[in-house]
């Protein structure tokens, strides 16, 4: 996959936003602020991976936050007893299982993704709250908090982990059969089915993967916060959608580059960061993010449209030129 003009436009737009913030917002360019920003951006991108994968197959996973909460609370119980590896495994397994359940119900029982993942959000959040009874679990060993708190050189660990996960997903989506089927199913599920692709199995795998990624994000979050509670990730579905949309993942499915999430994460983090640095009340963030979402997608949409028209005109004039001449 080459870097398309749309991807270039996105990179340019994000660079422009960064440059504007650097020039106009005091203390934006300091090393500690940039490191914070980068960490926030990659955490957001990581949170958005599940939402994005399901958007690629023309669905949506609204249960990611709840699944992250349940899996990380269960994992936390094991981890505080000192079994770090086992705890992480438990967390990931619970996440994958939740996602698998979503996938099976959607692919096999033909429940609309909205009803299934929305209901799942209630069920799993309820289970998490029942399990913790509203208390938080803390006091993790350093061998676990390392996941969220340590640095590799100057780079925070969540950035390294997020980057690795996104890179891996990019390879899986572009180089493997699974990835190609994912895009094909998202573009046209019916056509994919008719051409003999295992669309149902693909859907199940995508939702399972979304659950797995949600629990992974949850684990990194609790490692960073050094505490786990059932309220984790309340806003994740909405934040994930925002990051994905800004990152160029299409709601209609079958379109979008997973690496775009890094751009989406950066934009969201920059908006939050600038609102903070400018001393504006935190909630100006929502207003600006809403605005930025519409703006980014709109400009993208309009440039794409013009590109299409120009292309078809070019083709047209080309064919005229070929046939033409007295």
């Amino acid at each position: 996959m080459t870097l398309s003009s749309r991807a270039l436009y996105r990179v340019a737009a994000v660079t422009a936003i960064l440059a504007a913030a650097w020039i106009f917002v005091p203390r934006f360019g300091t090393e500690s602020n940039l490191i914070n920003l980068l960490r926030q951006a990659f955490l957001l991108a990581l949170v958005a991976t599940g939402v994005s994968l399901t958007m690629l197959v023309a669905g949506l996973d609204l249960s990611i936050g709840a699944v992250a909460a349940l899996s990380s609370c269960l994992a936390a119980t094991v981890i505080v007893q000192g079994h770090v590896a086992l705890g992480v495994l438990v967390g990931l397994a619970v996440g994958a299982l939740g996602g698998l359940l979503n996938g099976v119900m959607i692919a096999k029982l033909k429940l609309p993704f909205f009803i299934m993942t929305f209901s799942m959000m209630f069920i799993v959040r309820g289970l998490a709250l029942t399990y913790t009874q509203g208390t938080s679990i803390h006091g993790f060993p350093q061998s676990f908090t390392w996941l969220g708190k340590s640095f590799v050189g100057p780079v925070p660990m969540p950035v390294v982990l997020g980057g690795a996960v996104l890179g891996l997903l990019y390879l899986v989506l572009t180089k493997t059969t699974f990835g190609r089927i994912t895009y094909a199913v998202g573009a046209n599920a019916e056509a994919a089915r008719f051409s003999g692709l295992a669309a149902d199995r693909n859907l199940i795998r995508v939702y399972a993967l979304s659950g797995l990624l949600a629990s992974l994000s949850g684990l990194i979050y609790i490692a960073r916060l050094n505490a786990a509670d059932a309220d984790l990730g309340m806003m994740w579905p909405l934040e994930g959608i925002a990051v994905a949309v800004i990152g160029g993942i299409a709601f209609s499915g079958g379109e979008g580059n997973i690496l775009g999430l890094i751009l989406g994460g950066i934009v969201m983090a920059v908006v939050g960061n600038c609102v903070n640095l400018l001393g504006l009340p935190a909630r100006f963030q929502d207003f600006f993010i809403g605005f930025v979402i519409i703006l980014v997608v709109l400009v993208d949409h309009l440039t794409q449209k013009r590109g299409k028209v120009a292309k078809s005109l070019a083709v047209h004039s080309h064919s005229v030129a070929k046939e033409g001449g007295p």
Binding site: M120, L129, A242, A250, P281, V297
Partner: protein, 323 residues
């Protein structure tokens, strides 16, 4: 008798049966559930969701979605409360201004969606952020209280011994039901949702119609926001967040298809009744707040499954025989 049965059975869709079963179950499990006073309670609780879900129904009939309604409801109640408190505006005028704000939000959604061709998720989600942000900014993230309580009768009032919101919801429902069934614009709504290209070719002004419907959804969110304000007697930006998803769930559980062109406000009314009965019943039975969430999730799935593939093979069989 057989005739009566054949008249009634089509009305017994999955969600209706589930609601009836739940009512029976909760009545057995809790003493206070099956009582006039609790029925009034349920109606009061359901009225806000019903109003906002009616608007959402229209949008979903177009195969669209409106993610902004929860935040727009919050904006409406915050604008209205601030106008009354800080601006000393007459409550009725303040409420009208709040509803107009909501309608403008919906209008913007519709214009960006239908004239610029963006997937409705994007403008309505962007509007969610902007409306929430605007509401938080005008309230400075505080809870607004202490304004005149003259709007409260909308929620607390009684007429002929029945709660006021019942009349509001019933009137709106009848109007909308007739609109969808008996007016060209109503039929056009189904036509656009069923097949947009075909609707355009048959001369329906699709863009205009869609814009109007998103504006209408905003308008209904505004009315719901005012009723919510009348109930809580306090305005807070984030109080109504969640209604976007609740309303979509009510519409879909009732039996309106997310693919558009199929369903209606009657189905939505059933969906709202189901959700309100479930919530109230779980409370009355004394199910722990946390576990309630689990049951609501399971209930939604069950209700949808019952709607899409009939749980009534027996009744279906009977109808087939008669036919």
């Amino acid at each position: 008798m057989a005739r009566l049965v054949s008249r009634i059975t089509p009305l017994l869709s999955g969600p209706v049966v589930i609601t009836l079963v739940m009512i029976a179950l909760f009545s057995l499990l809790s003493e206070g559930f099956f009582s006039p006073s609790n029925a009034v309670n349920i109606i009061r609780q359901a009225s806000v969701l019903a109003l906002v879900s009616f608007g959402q129904t229209f949008v979903i009939l177009l195969a669209g979605i409106d993610l902004s309604v929860g935040a727009v409801m919050g904006l409406t109640s915050c604008v209205t409360a601030q106008l009354m408190l800080a601006g000393h505006v007459h409550p009725a005028v303040a409420a009208l201004f709040g509803i107009a704000t909501a309608a403008v939000c919906g209008l913007l959604n519709g214009m960006v969606h239908s004239f610029l061709g963006l997937n409705p998720f994007v403008p309505t989600f962007g509007m969610w952020g902007m409306a929430l942000g605007a509401a938080l900014i005008i309230t400075e993230e505080r809870v607004i209280t202490g304004f005149p309580s003259s709007l409260r009768f909308l929620h607390d009032g009684e007429f002929l011994g029945l709660p006021a919101p019942l009349f509001l919801v019933a009137a709106v429902f009848l109007l909308l039901h007739l609109f969808l069934r008996a007016t060209p614009a109503g039929v056009a709504t189904y036509a656009i949702g069923g097949n947009e290209a075909a609707a355009r070719l048959s001369g329906i002004r699709v863009r205009l119609h869609k814009t109007a419907i998103y504006a209408f959804s905003g308008f209904m969110a505004g009315i719901a926001g005012i009723l919510f304000l009348a109930r809580s007697n306090a305005a807070q930006a984030i109080d109504t967040i969640g209604y976007e998803f609740d309303s979509i769930a009510a519409v879909v559980v009732g039996g309106t298809s997310l693919m558009g062109g199929k369903g209606g406000v009657a189905q939505t009314l059933v969906g709202v009744a189901l959700i309100a009965t479930l919530r109230n019943g779980l409370n009355m039975v004394g199910v722990n707040l946390y576990l309630q969430l689990v049951f609501i999730g399971l209930g939604l799935i069950l209700a949808y499954v019952s709607e899409s593939r009939s749980l009534l093979p027996f009744l279906r069989l009977r109808r087939a025989k008669e036919a």
